[in-house]
């Protein structure tokens, strides 16, 4: 683990994304779903527009590291890439946070085990 990095919100070089950490760097899938469903399309769009330009450098950065031993700040960067995935359909397909024909997120629940 890179301890120098773990005190920062995000690894060095990704300062431009720090503004999104508090709202979008969520470890759990259900938390990301909840954030997506409870956000306005404008907020989603702002995150998407910034993140879609930075996701490849972020993955390049993370791919160079051991996925099992990421530091806290590196994990936050990974969670931001997950949140980009989570909101992509809102921007690219539905033009709203989610399909109007979909179950609400609290009814399709990610679970540890079946």
């Amino acid at each position: 683990m890179n301890t120098a990095n773990s005190d920062r919100p995000l690894p060095e070089g990704f300062e431009d994304l720090e503004q999104f950490v508090e709202q979008w760097a969520r470890a759990e899938e259900q938390a990301r779903m909840h954030k997506r469903w409870s956000s306005s399309l404008e907020e989603i769009q702002r995150f998407y527009d910034a993140m879609v330009l930075r996701v490849e450098p972020a993955l390049d950065y993370l791919d160079a590291r051991n996925i099992e031993t990421l530091s806290a700040s590196e994990n936050r960067l990974l969670y931001l890439t997950y949140s980009l995935v989570e909101v992509a359909n809102a921007v690219e397909i539905y033009g709203q946070p989610a399909s109007p024909h979909a179950l609400p997120p609290e009814r399709f629940v990610p679970v540890e085990r079946l």
Binding site: E56, L59, T81, V85, N89, F108
Partner: protein, 416 residues
């Protein structure tokens, strides 16, 4: 192969094909009553669920002697302990102490653990990993206790390609192998166990279990219900997603959907797939070549142009997807309530790009599954009104009719 694709397009659009091929199904149409009838639900509990093999988990979930998981079978009010014995054999037992009937394990369904014995919390009766009663507290105070005959009640258990199945009748009418039959063709040796990194979802829907399963047995709804999410995969020469083929077996069914391989990906799909391809080149984490035929025409990291749905009766749907496999299961809780379990399994991700791709892959499916789940609740409400007595079925929806007819056959003719 643009030439043969054009020829295919003509043939699959020109005529109604399926009901002529399967005349035993009768005229198109499915009765509405079985989706709302308490009596039918009761017949299913008596005649169907005790007489079928049910998938309950994977062998790699319990790799070592003493490893176990708990699995509930709601339509039979059963809770099972599925455990690997000291002899490495996988067995299933009713989670019922033979003393005064408490459950031995109180964890929720799906919980895994590892133990050397099962001790009932109530009075301490203790059973070994093979289900034998090993210890009775205050044994001398019982009357003629036959310890040898007081083991845990066993349940017929067998495995197919690493999937653990149970059968809750005392003497199953057929072996698992015979039961699976042709639906397993092409899957022998498929490395499901190498794609054992599992993401799971659970949903409880207010609809009949058969309605939810039926929603996965045709491609006709894709253009409408999934208009936003999946329409780009519908090609212009097959606008209503007529099937590549449908194969109706004794109990099971296999349908193959065309997927437009030239669909222009969304920006994020493009990023996810290119990262996936790149990560394959730099690791050994690959689509196993032995599985390529089973998945459909595919090549390393390229999009599929067919999508096969294996519907294994009664409640297990198995889909092979790029880099992994999905399993859906549907457990009735009441005539109008179903527990829907979704497993999405991939190779263990070795880097961030693979994690990113796997999140994209399951999420791209998940958003559409959330639509399938919602529409069936509205279907249940509509059918419950009694306005329609029959669901109208078109040629491409034949697998819906077949599935519901097999259920009807079990509940009408199979005696318990």
């Amino acid at each position: 192969m643009p030439v043969s694709q054009a020829a295919d397009a003509d043939s699959y659009l020109s005529t109604k094909r399926w009901f002529a091929k399967y005349p035993g199904l009768g005229a198109p149409g499915v009765p509405a009553e079985p989706f709302i009838s308490e009596e039918q639900f009761s017949l299913e509990r008596q005649r169907l669920w005790p007489n079928v093999w049910l998938m309950v988990g994977r062998t790699e979930h319990i790799p070592k002697p003493g490893d176990y998981f708990i699995k509930e079978i709601p339509p039979l009010n059963a809770s099972l302990i599925v455990v690997r014995g000291r002899d490495r054999v996988v067995r299933a037992f009713h989670n019922v102490c033979s003393h005064r009937g408490s459950q031995l394990c109180w964890e929720r369904s799906g919980t895994r653990g590892s133990t050397t014995s099962f001790k009932c919390p109530y009075h301490g009766f203790t059973y070994d990993l093979e289900g034998k009663l090993r210890f009775v507290p205050d044994e001398e105070n019982f009357y003629g206790l036959e310890k040898d005959r007081m083991g845990l009640a066993g349940v017929a258990t067998d495995t197919w390609e690493g999937f653990i199945f149970v059968h809750l009748s005392p003497k199953p009418a057929e072996t698992l192998r015979a039961y699976i039959g042709e639906i397993g063709d092409g899957l022998a040796g498929y490395p499901f166990h190498e794609q054992a990194y599992q993401y799971s979802y659970r949903a409880v829907l207010n609809c009949n279990w058969k309605l939810l399963i039926s929603s996965f047995l045709e491609g006709f709804h894709v253009r409408s219900l999934h208009a936003a999410g999946l329409r780009r995969f519908v090609s212009s020469n097959n606008p209503y997603s007529h099937l590549d083929f449908v194969k109706l077996l004794d109990k099971h069914r296999l349908i193959s959907l065309f997927v437009n391989p030239t669909a222009s990906p969304t920006k994020l799909a493009d990023i996810a797939f290119s990262r996936y391809r790149k990560s394959l080149q730099s690791s050994s984490n690959n689509l196993p070549s032995s599985g390529a035929d089973a998945v459909g025409k595919t090549s390393k990291g390229s999009a599929l142009d067919k999508f096969l749905i294996r519907n294994i009766f009664p409640n297990f749907q198995l889909n092979l997807v790029m880099g992994g496999w999905y399993a859906y299961q549907f457990w009735p809780l009441a005539v109008d309530r179903v527990l829907w379990e979704t497993r999405m399994c991939f190779s263990k991700p070795v880097n961030a790009s693979q994690k990113f791709f796997q999140y994209y892959a399951r999420y791209a499916s998940r958003d559409n599954l959330m639509e399938d789940g919602r529409v069936t609740e509205h279907q249940q409400l509509a059918i419950k009104s009694g306005v329609i007595k029959k669901l109208t079925i078109q040629d491409e929806e034949i697998a819906v009719q077949h599935f519901n007819k097999v259920v009807e056959d079990y509940t009408r003719t199979t005696s318990a």
